[in-house]
Symmetry: C2
Amino acid sequence: MSQSFFSDHQKTLDAARKAIRERGYWSAYPEIPSGKIYGETAKDDGLKAFQARLGKSFELDQPGKVGEVGAERSPFGPAIDVKYPKVDIDELLRAAQAASGSWAKADINARVGVCLEILHRLNKRSFELANAVMHTTGQGFMMAFQAGGPHAQDRGLEAVAYAYDEMTRTPAKTMWKKQVGKEEFVTLEKRYRIMPRGVALTIGCSTFPTWNGYPGIFASLATGNAVVVKPHPGAILPLAITVEIGRAVLSEAGFDPNVLTLAADSHGAPITKDLAIRPEVKIIDYTGGGEFGSWIEKNATQAVVFTEKAGVNSIVIDSCDDLKAVTGNLAFSLSLYSGQMCTTPQNIFIPKDGITVGGEKKSFDEVAGAIVGAVNWFLGEPRRASEVLGAIQNENTLKRVEAAAREGEVLRPAGHEANEAFPEARVCSPLMIKIDAKQTELFMREMFGPIVYLIATDNTEQSIRLAAQGASQCGAITAAVYSTDTKVLDAADEQIAGAGAALSCNLTGQIFVNQAAAYSDFHVSGANPAGNATLCDAAFVTNRFRFVQTRVPVAG
Amino acid sequence: MSQSFFSDHQKTLDAARKAIRERGYWSAYPEIPSGKIYGETAKDDGLKAFQARLGKSFELDQPGKVGEVGAERSPFGPAIDVKYPKVDIDELLRAAQAASGSWAKADINARVGVCLEILHRLNKRSFELANAVMHTTGQGFMMAFQAGGPHAQDRGLEAVAYAYDEMTRTPAKTMWKKQVGKEEFVTLEKRYRIMPRGVALTIGCSTFPTWNGYPGIFASLATGNAVVVKPHPGAILPLAITVEIGRAVLSEAGFDPNVLTLAADSHGAPITKDLAIRPEVKIIDYTGGGEFGSWIEKNATQAVVFTEKAGVNSIVIDSCDDLKAVTGNLAFSLSLYSGQMCTTPQNIFIPKDGITVGGEKKSFDEVAGAIVGAVNWFLGEPRRASEVLGAIQNENTLKRVEAAAREGEVLRPAGHEANEAFPEARVCSPLMIKIDAKQTELFMREMFGPIVYLIATDNTEQSIRLAAQGASQCGAITAAVYSTDTKVLDAADEQIAGAGAALSCNLTGQIFVNQAAAYSDFHVSGANPAGNATLCDAAFVTNRFRFVQTRVPVAG
């Protein structure tokens, strides 16, 4: 059975392996939520499947159940009220350890086949997952479908491709023949076994539970580890569905389904710290806030730790040919999911004396005004605004927006645009504030959510320096620069990418600074405080397993 | 200049890259200390070069010198009395950071070329290094030449090969073209830069300063990090010579020589802890005792940490065809360098009711006696004994031997065989003690040095279980099993290799359990407490650098 999963999907795996080497555009899972691709009834079926979960107990048939937990509410308003198993950590970890034995011993193709089949089934369930992601994270439907479905699946497949490459790069056995005397040889058969670390813990986040969770889950599974998924209490459902699908595939393939388990908790009784320092936990993948991420890095010293935390992403505007093309591009980046992406720009640096646009001088206020105007225009169409903004996942974000508004000159107040489909949606469009480059205490900190600082600098040199400093000091995942001067682009590359932020130059049109594509974009560099790991590179998988060898002499 | 280094040695690199994939026998640096290979005067020249260092100041022309330090004494007797720069840590780290800038930006081939040239020059200086290793570690000359010279150089080259593969596996740039509308495409040029972590610290050990030090030093250098070498105060000279050679090559290639620096200290005023937790230090390679290694793993959370600590290596004797072949092989393994290898067996498990040898029953005492007899016979030839045993590096080892002798039934007392060439040599041949499997407090702990426990077990099943338990609990790097029964071999493979110890089966003749060959043997699995890293695998290099990307739109 499991061998058939591998052969069923081997072409997909091979294409993904090629893609991570060439790093051009490729995708295994279509991002268009079209009936022609996913089946004419897929959209309705997915919605119904989601709705059928609401207000019910989510049965997972995993050990250690000691009650129920779950208090998710849709940022769009509706109650979710799904109850998940509350687990006894001791029992769950025992079950995970017990399950990891035969999983670790399975051959690479069997394990990788299971992973590929899980991804395949997740893809078929993309509409159900889209609804689950939408109503836990607050993402608009299209984004929830793409980022929560196919793009997340691509990220998972990318991790499987890296894991497969690294596990198979060393032969399973070899012959070693050495001359040890005039006519004397020693020949050893050497066998190299893949030895997984044991139990891995994936700590999910509230904004991108699948996109950020799948790489770690699939990297650990493929390399033979049992995975305990600890979702954010605000976004359990997408990962619970994932675990359910995964357990079904594991069982069908003849493995103990406890290779993949869910450990849900509540805001009131969090279990993450307890889990993170358990001696049984040998790998941790964490996505979330910086403070807690740093706590894990410092305290979970028994585990190999991969973190994606957060940071302060910057945009440097120096000059351009077409300001409208620039501001139109920025308007989307700033509005998308109300700035709740770890890749959304926060700080926009503009020289106080203005910039050159197609040979003409534009003042700071004209440039800032053009960005504000573009955001207003873009959000002026209510249906588009609702779809792009989505809703605010965490109400603390609204409080942060309110506090920020009192600290500078508001060029654009945060908007609470009406959402026709969901009147109760927690909507908040970008607050845009003008400040001075001297006010470092305001912008040299992460202000997660729809908060944008338009920062007047002495000149572009200072803009670049501050953007780089923000990355080094607070972490940064992305950065962008707009300039017609190659020297400026080179300086930004040198300093800002040199501070570990993925840099985009002169982006206009349908490509955005906050988007990262699987198989091509390294998401998070691991080279500044925004995180210590990358989705995905070889380092993301190589330390999830070890090689252990056996040598046997062979008669000469 | 630096490009010529790369092309000079590219064939060597390519052969090493092939070797780590195929993992058969290969070596770049001849292990025979022959005048025909190294030059007729090489041996004398090396000895003279070594002697010329004695009693002098070792000049390194590196910044931060605030005095001198150094109190090495040869375990063979002679004073060494070389004085090394005592460094101001602040100033040294500043210099290392400053040097790392252009080193990080150099292209891969330039850096790798420098590494290959350093290794090439180290190889030419193998006789000098052999003397330095011999008179700091206590290894006999032949071993000091092989393990301290060519074998160490091979381990360094292996690390460079891994680093080169992993850095070049991702293209430096690519074109990414995605369809975003009916007729609309977005094309991005993406550039991926290698970004080293910064400053790496290599903490050397007293027994194999070069063999255990080179992998980390060369892995960090090749991936663009500056390396600070902190040798063990008892074995500074081999690494000081290495740093001297490295700095000369760096300078010739136009780099700041402070890419490679020495931070020597003394037993009385150790600097390792201070260095290990400095925020500038982003990578640590540690070889040494378990307690301090665990301290580093727990406390140096600002760095990526690679450790090789120690453990309890076991031998399980179940049955064999030719007991003499077994005991002859073991006699060498137990005697070599007086058991001061992290791969030397400590615990030999034999069923209390004896074993079957070629169909005949041999009692425990007969088997134990045969091993003792083989050691006695092997060490009965004084010149061979002197060469193989070498001398005891640390006098605490002698105290440990004395203490151990009081704890069980001594089958063979430790011998203090005369060394004709060095009458003052601290010689100690293996103490062999018979104990019972119940006395876990004696053998479930590391007793570093020439201490061998012959442990009477209920049966082979228990032998295997105890060997595996020792590996899991105390760590183990190697293990061996002797059996004519494939079921026993399979069980040992399952349990002992399954506990992360490299297992050798039925070794006889000229291949020994404590030997690990570059390009083929994974030294330390990282899968038990004996260490968290392997010399070498991909995981040993992938996290020493990061990828940071830059994206630029290309007109459709």
